[in-house]
Amino acid sequence: MEENSINSSGRIKGLIQDFGLPRLIITGFLILLLIVAPIVGADLPTQISNIINRFSWNGILVLAMVPMVHSGCGLNFGLPLGIISGLLGATISIELGFTGPVSFFMAVLISTPFAIVFGSLYGWLLNKIKGGEMMIATYVGFSSVSLMCMMWLLLPYHSPNMVWGMAGKGLRTTISLEGYYKEALADILQINIGNLMIPTGAILFFALLAFLMWAFLHTKTGTAMTAVGSNPDFARSAGINVDKIRLISVVMSTWLAAIGILVYEQGFGFIQLYMAPFYMALPAVSAILIGGASVNKASIMNVVIGTILFQGIVTMTPTVMNNMIHLDMSEVIRIIVSNGMILYALTRKTEGSK
């Protein structure tokens, strides 16, 4: 089954089959929004720039879902753990006095060992509790976020741009990246045509990581990962070290989440600490599911489509609704659509292991 959808002939058919009704509705809804937007007086180029921008912020966080889905660990609800690695990288990079785009590079560099260590522990844990990954991942995320809340206060940070002015210690809840790596990627080769703005650098960075992920999935380890995900018993009998492969996938996912949050911050312009990462897994999870992934199947295409659809709806609905009926129901729509999508995916029967 799995082999079929990988080779090209079965691919298109599989794509349509996998598309499913909810995705069709969401796509239809977004297209409707795009059509209605100019009619009700929203500026279409601005809207499209917004979507592209938000895509560039969030793409990598969604991409982080792919390895764990492939290895059969399910949706990575423990994304906040990776995000914390990224936050550690970001804050340490600033603390060490790096500025400008260099601070972004350093943040990536510093967060990597954290991501590897946290990811390994997390992966080791998930190997102990096969079958119950998603719930435990959720709570590993929650626990780590709340543990780090204490750490942000206690760790010896001193940079005056990050700590509370009065106390001289303890990190602030939001830290401005002005002068650090704000738009470090987005500014590279940025295209401006009227109201249309494309953050080329950030998109290229996403494309690079997506390509690397795609390439990785075609290496020996990558195909082994897919095998583990689709049929662990078969993989084991074929001589694959299942636990090791799963561990690799978890580390990869954690690292991508760390990079993902850094890219998000460079677009957003702020570092958000404390409880902010708490629910960050949910938008990423629903985005990849909207893109056509399931609990045990995900491709790069799912990531791209899903992020565009999800961010499209999130950015378009408020403006269109406000212009149309002066009633901003976008928040409610977002909650219902994104969680409804996760529910839909969780209730699908999955092949292979549970």
């Binding site: 079958g131 204490m150 303890g170 928040e331 909650i335 219902i336 996760i342 969780l346 209730t347």
Partner: protein, 370 residues
């Protein structure tokens, strides 16, 4: 053999023991007087026990921790909002709110049960997401439909723009009416006798329910779905009923909770209720597949002592009030995490043990045949 049993016992009570330790260390440091603590804990016992008891039945049916008990909480809130708008006050107001909440809870429980039947093996994460999903629907109803579709008359409930309910709805007319129905103060500790009677009745109902045919079926389903199915039990139906009962109890529990609080935070009262009810239950020594009434009460005492004491102790130790607050949040999540991990590892261990036994039995059979 004896040693492993001791180890098992230790493992079972490790979480409550840890909490006893935390409380024992933090309570003196916090500097709170014993009478203050006793008062707070008795209040919280009355406030939370009903809600936490609503978690027991899905655990019995093997559906794990019911994260979607928030559904019932939302139904209870809707009942209370309507009743406050109709100006039905005091105990009759509470009773009416309960009567209104029951069909809503039952409907939501039915939905939840049906969805969980489609997601067997991952009930907990699904019920967790359901609570988010229904929160969206709740917001749709309370924020947009209340006013134009569901009539809301009073301007202290409805937003001035004409639709939607305010951030807080005052329950002054109902506040602690049940708690103070039978006033009793022992050694400076105010005891909400009537609330405790209601809670006691629920305990009796749960004990009785376990012995009924349906209760027995539920336990069988919790043990093994396949075997129960072969035994002629309607597995899916039983699971749905357990969700419906839990949600209805949660709705009633939320009304008792809010009458004690004295106001509804319309958009946030329910959102974390499932989380900390579950944490309290687990602190009491319950696990994902086993929980008793005793766990509920022990859990409330330990969890809430920690909850009251930790921020004060944190302030004394570190000089920062936030540390203690983050600490208690961390501990709440950590407890759930640890409980979930222990449950999953035990499940795997039992599975492999069963597998080994099966293999051994087969081997013996083969030898016998040879």
């Amino acid at each position: 053999m004896n040693k492993t049993n001791l180890g098992d016992i230790f493992r079972r009570f490790s979480v409550p023991l840890m909490f006893v330790l935390i409380c024992a260390v933090c309570a003196p440091i916090s500097g709170l007087s014993p009478s203050y603590l006793a008062n707070e804990i008795v209040t919280r016992m009355g406030r939370n026990a009903f809600l936490i008891l609503s978690l027991l039945i899905p655990i019995m049916a093997g559906m794990g921790l019911n994260f979607s008990m928030t559904l019932g909480a939302m139904a209870g809130e809707i009942g209370l909002i309507l009743v406050s708008d109709w100006q039905i006050v005091g105990i009759p107001g509470m009773v009416l709110a309960m009567i209104i909440s029951v069909p809503i809870s039952a409907l939501l429980g039915l939905f939840c049960g049906k969805v969980l039947n489609m997601a067997k093996g991952r009930e907990m994460i699904t019920s967790y997401i359901i609570s988010f999903f229904i929160n969206g629907i709740y917001q749709l109803v309370v924020l947009y439909l209340m006013g134009p579709v569901i009539p809301i008359k009073h301007s202290n409930i409805k937003l001035p723009r004409g639709y939607g309910v305010r951030n807080t709805v005052s329950l002054l007319s109902m506040r602690q009416k049940l708690d103070n129905l039978i006033p009793l103060t022992i050694a400076g500790v105010k005891i909400p006798v009537a609330t405790f009677i209601v809670i006691f009745l629920l305990c009796l109902v749960i004990i009785w329910f376990r012995k009924t045919k349906l209760g027995q079926d539920m336990r069988a389903v919790g043990q093994d779905m396949e075997v129960s199915k072969d035994a002629g039990i309607n597995v899916e139906g039983t699971r749905i009923i357990s969700m419906v009962i839990s949600t209805v109890f949660a709705g009633v529990g939320m009304i008792i909770y809010l009458q004690n609080m004295g106001n509804i935070a319309t958009y946030s009262s329910h959102s974390q209720i499932g989380m900390f009810c579950i944490a309290a239950l687990l602190v009491g020594g319950a696990s994902v597949d086993k929980a008793s009434i005793g766990n509920v009460f022990l859990g409330i005492i330990l969890f809430h002592t920690m909850f009251i004491v930790a921020p004060k102790a944190g302030t004394v130790i570190t000089g920062d009030s936030m540390i203690g607050e983050y600490f208690r949040v961390f501990v709440s999540y950590a407890v759930i995490t640890v409980a979930l991990i222990m449950y999953e590892t035990n499940k795997r261990k039992n599975k492999s043990r069963a597998g080994e036994e099966l293999a051994r039995a087969q081997e013996e059979e083969n030898e016998g045949a040879a």
